[in-house]
Subunit: 350 residues, 2 copies
């Protein structure tokens, strides 16, 4: 996948860089891990420091000193998480900031403006993320709204995409806009959503509305049903997944892109993913464990630090704890995808 | 200065690594900044994870994966900071842990045992850090106690120093024990303390009891009065100082070693030291300032990030804020000392 700011090998896992930082990790260490693309959250960046400020400073890449690729979400998912604070109409969503309670409004057009101002390589259509569980009628109405918003997103994006802050750099390229399949857990609605979205001809497609509390088997089922309806020659992105074995499984099913806060968030809570399973590094049994977090991992944390040391940092609530735990978890996720890529390359899939 | 774990160029500033971590900074980035020696706090390490646990794991160097030099303080300073929780007798100090209120006792002998178990390159004699202000009689009594404790520290240390956890490594070398000059702000007491301490023949000497709230001019005066009484051919260490201009001034006066939490602690509160003065990076005026923190600094933070970005990280309470601010402040302190070394070398002082 060739984007203005980077060539990205797929299937790829994208670390989440919520507010212009992958929490606790300096950018040069992401580069050393060969991260090529990260995700930024439009909702958070819109509120702080603000998309206009970021545009004035040359866009998100320059602001955070990350010259590789960035995908931004539409802001929809976060806005819909603020269930107490929002009001949805045909026009868009009114919501209150979680920071200061101030009133804001996102429409498909506004979400596009914000993402173009940020200067992401890949923007996402503004969608309504259907809650789980949802009645059939509710999922149907939500899907229809999302499709009308997809059209508005695309129209506005295509008109304004050359207003991206990187000017004539990157051979005059513009960012891309991906559409998002919704439909709750209803397979017929997912099919309909995929077909109508593909008819709009986006350069890439995402499957949204997953990881919202449904059983894992439903997630898999929706992906399995939807994926074959999305063009194989365009990137297919499943949003917000998952555990290491899940991302490997979905990648083998044909998913090209995934993102999830799990490796970074779990790290800050002391949960480490390893080739031998999950470690809760806070556990007392690691107090004098001189083995590395994962004996089969080549990351800079496993090459140098012990479980005992990582446990100590966590117990002492030291800021280095989040740094090292996150570095390991991200390395493990990236290595998981590297192995899947090697495996898919080897057997000649796609 | 050649220590078991490192050759250290002096004058040197030692970053403080309180509980086996220089707060927020991965060890490999300290190495990349050419840090050769850090300070560990005996009191904190004794409480958590415990010196016996650290000894069983091969000592502090191995525990924290820091194969360069470590100096440990005696625990005295921290214990005396717990003013409500401690009781001093001729034998030592009884105190309550700030973590769980548990009762503990430090004597000179016990402080030596702990420091030997940790395996530091340089241990410090157990002293009573005289509070400021202190009456003459109080400072005199405190100084006498400190000298009796220095003798006990030295006797016990010399008997047990080969029990350091690094075994026969490092060409069979043992750690060194430095004595500490006290005497409050009374110059005659400082002279007496220095002379009686030098008579005990330590391999290095520290000036303690400074940076306890006294005016800066008193600090300078005590250093100026005491330093000439300490042997020039042995390391002379001023504990717990200071601002960048102070450490440069003291180094020019002949001080070989200094440590201070200031660069690391101030960083976490958003105070950056630069060649153009101090920056409070939280200040709104930096919101869109695209200059580096310090235009004359070559550190990895100044080479890559803007004031606006550092301000944003602080405003968003992002963990990367502490990492980057600390990296810059430490780089600035190290560079300050590098310049003084070049200057002293150039004019052939000492």
């Amino acid at each position: 996948m060739t984007l203005p700011h980077a060539a990205v090998e797929t299937p790829v896992f994208m670390p989440v860089g919520t507010v212009a930082t992958v929490k606790a990790v300096p950018q040069h260490l992401l580069e050393e891990m060969d991260v090529r693309i990260i995700l930024g959250n439009t909702y958070h960046l819109y509120l702080r420091p603000g998309h206009e400020a970021i545009r004035r400073m040359g866009g998100l890449h320059r602001f955070m000193s990350w010259e590789r690729a960035i995908l931004t979400d539409s802001g929809g998912f976060q806005v819909f998480s603020l269930s107490e604070l929002r009001k949805v109409t045909e026009e868009g969503v009114q919501f209150r900031s979680h920071l200061d309670g101030g009133l804001h409004f996102f429409s498909p057009e506004h979400s596009m403006d914000v993402q173009i101002a940020l200067g992401s390589d890949i923007a996402m259509a503004f969608d309504e993320c259907t809650e789980y569980p949802a009645e059939y009628g509710r999922a149907r109405a939500s899907l229809d709204l999302t499709l009308r918003w997809a059209e508005r997103s695309k129209r506005h994006f295509d008109e304004h995409k050359f207003e991206r802050p990187w000017g004539d750099g990157f051979a005059g390229q513009a960012p891309s806009l991906f559409g998002i399949v919704q439909g709750g857990m209803y397979l017929d609605l997912r099919r309909e959503s995929a077909e109508r979205l593909v008819a709009m001809d986006f350069p890439g497609y995402a499957i949204g509305g997953l990881s919202v509390g449904e059983p894992r088997e439903r997630t898999r089922e929706v992906i399995a049903e939807t994926l074959p309806l999305l063009p194989k020659d365009k990137p297919r992105y499943v949003m917000g997944v998952g555990y290491p074995d899940e991302i490997a499984e979905y990648a083998r099913m044909g998913v090209d892109m995934m993102d999830c806060v799990l490796p970074t968030r779990a790290a800050r809570h002391g949960l480490l993913f390893t080739s031998e399973g999950r470690l809760n590094i806070k556990n007392r049994k690691f107090a004098e464990d001189q083995g590395p977090p994962d004996p089969n991992c080549g990351c800079i944390v496993c090459q140098r630090y012990t479980r005992a040391y990582l446990r100590h940092l966590m117990a002492a609530q030291e800021p280095l704890s989040a740094v090292l735990n996150t570095l390991h978890n991200l390395a493990f996720y990236l290595e998981t995808m590297r192995k899947v890529r090697a495996e898919l390359g080897a057997v000649g899939v796609d």
